[in-house]
Symmetry: C2
């Protein structure tokens, strides 16, 4: 990959993915294509960011189809290392982002953001992009990577694009493929809960607990809340009194599948 990139025209944009590409990924790739001389996409299902009881083995993989989509989208380079290339025997180093990665997804998935930070540091070191592209859906991942890129002086601009949604509001995710029809029909309630929080804050509510309770009313069976909160989008710390910019974040289970979503809260006051 280094050799292939040695003479690459700049700016170079990198879109890191775990494959199973959907329209959210393609929006990142199109944006990268529009402003980069060279576009690289990594496809790597990173075992470090999956817990022992998570879905690493069954995570959707569609490499041939992915490559076809990447070619059609005008991507110059695909980096698809195998697991032993990324983590050979004796691999021990971890990049730890600190408190920003400890709550919410970090609490539900111990080690997850160390895994994300470690693999992205490796990808950034190998590809040396000028810009890297991420979807807003994984908001805590974005906060973690901003922290790491800033703290480690990686000199990479992070470009974050809005979450791409189905017509009924469900955020696109490779994991949506796990949902059965009944679960799929119920899934948009997570986004409605976040929208409800945004709406009450726009109407003047500043008490985080009351705003979250309003959202919680939308989360009904078969959804089971994993978390629902309002946080600072940079630190992922929740404050009792909402100060903007803030981010409404939520996660809910549908059977054994857990969905996540978020909506930014900007107010004029």
């Amino acid at each position: 990959m280094r050799a292939a990139l040695a003479g690459a025209s700049r700016p170079l944009g990198l879109v890191p993915t775990m494959g199973a590409l959907h329209a959210g990924h393609l929006a990142l790739i199109h944006r990268a294509r529009s402003e980069s001389a060279t576009v690289a996409v990594s496809v790597f299902v990173n075992p470090l960011q999956f817990g022992p009881n998570e879905d690493f083995e069954r995570y959707p993989r569609a490499f041939d189809d992915d490559v076809e989509q990447l070619r059609a989208a005008g991507v110059d380079l695909v980096y698809a290392p195998d697991v032993t290339t990324m983590y050979p025997a004796g691999f021990t180093t971890a990049v730890d982002p600190g408190p920003v990665g400890e709550g919410y997804e970090g609490a539900l998935r111990p080690g997850h953001f160390r895994g994300v930070a470690t693999v992205c540091t490796k990808l950034f070191a190998t590809v040396a992009p000028d810009r890297a592209y991420f979807g807003a859906k994984d908001a805590q991942q974005v906060a973690v990577l901003r922290q790491v890129v800033g703290d480690l002086d990686l000199g990479i601009e992070l470009i974050v694009l809005p979450t791409v949604r189905e017509a009924d509001g469900l955020a696109l995710s490779s994991r949506n493929a796990y949902l059965d029809p009944e679960q799929r029909a119920a899934a948009p309630a997570l986004h409605r809960a976040l929208d409800a929080i945004v709406a009450v804050v726009r109407n003047g509510e500043r008490n985080a607990q009351r705003a979250v309770e309003r959202g919680r009313a939308e989360l009904q069976t078969p959804l089971r809340e994993a978390y629902l909160d309002v946080v600072d989008p940079r630190t992922f710390v929740a404050e009792p009194e909402i100060r903007t910019p803030a981010l409404a974040i939520g996660s809910a289970w549908l059977g054994t599948t857990r969905l996540i979503d978020n909506e930014p809260i900007e107010t004029s006051s």
Copy 2:
């Protein structure tokens, strides 16, 4: 620094230091100068690698004198960031090298090698050298950085040069300045202890405990042993049966100053 380096001729060699330069540092710089188009030296006393009760505040600082020596040695660029540039408010990321940094210096100085790994990752990201130069005296630091550079795909060649010693065998160290005359006179016993271990292994001893006991006999008052052992130089794991290449490592206190040293063990058998 990035701007100054943007058009730098390659190869670019980096010598990371904490200043208070001595002949050991100059040997690294001369080697870098001999094989690099551009030589950069960083001068930064890194608070992250000092414990709360260590000598960060009183660590020798001699910046003007250092710069004069660097100029005389033909160094092209000096990177001397201040602490708040390296660690601004809100800095939280750490690079953790794993088990290689947990024993010996890592056990005596909790967090030390996370601090070393973190600052070097930052320096490497900022300077983007082709090669980085380190002294063999800090052998566990070398092992930690080999681990991190390899694991994180940093693509930097580490060049390690032999420890520079005083005529009586004492390894050069900025901390030698802390020693009073009596301590200074006693200090070479640490190196004699390591030489004694090397000698008995050369003579066929393969039992690590017996070899270490032979070295221990050299460590007498006023020296107080902190550790003395034989380890794998890559992993810093000690094995009961010595297999080469191995490294005799030792550390001893003289008053409130702790010295470290090591000697490689290579045998033909």
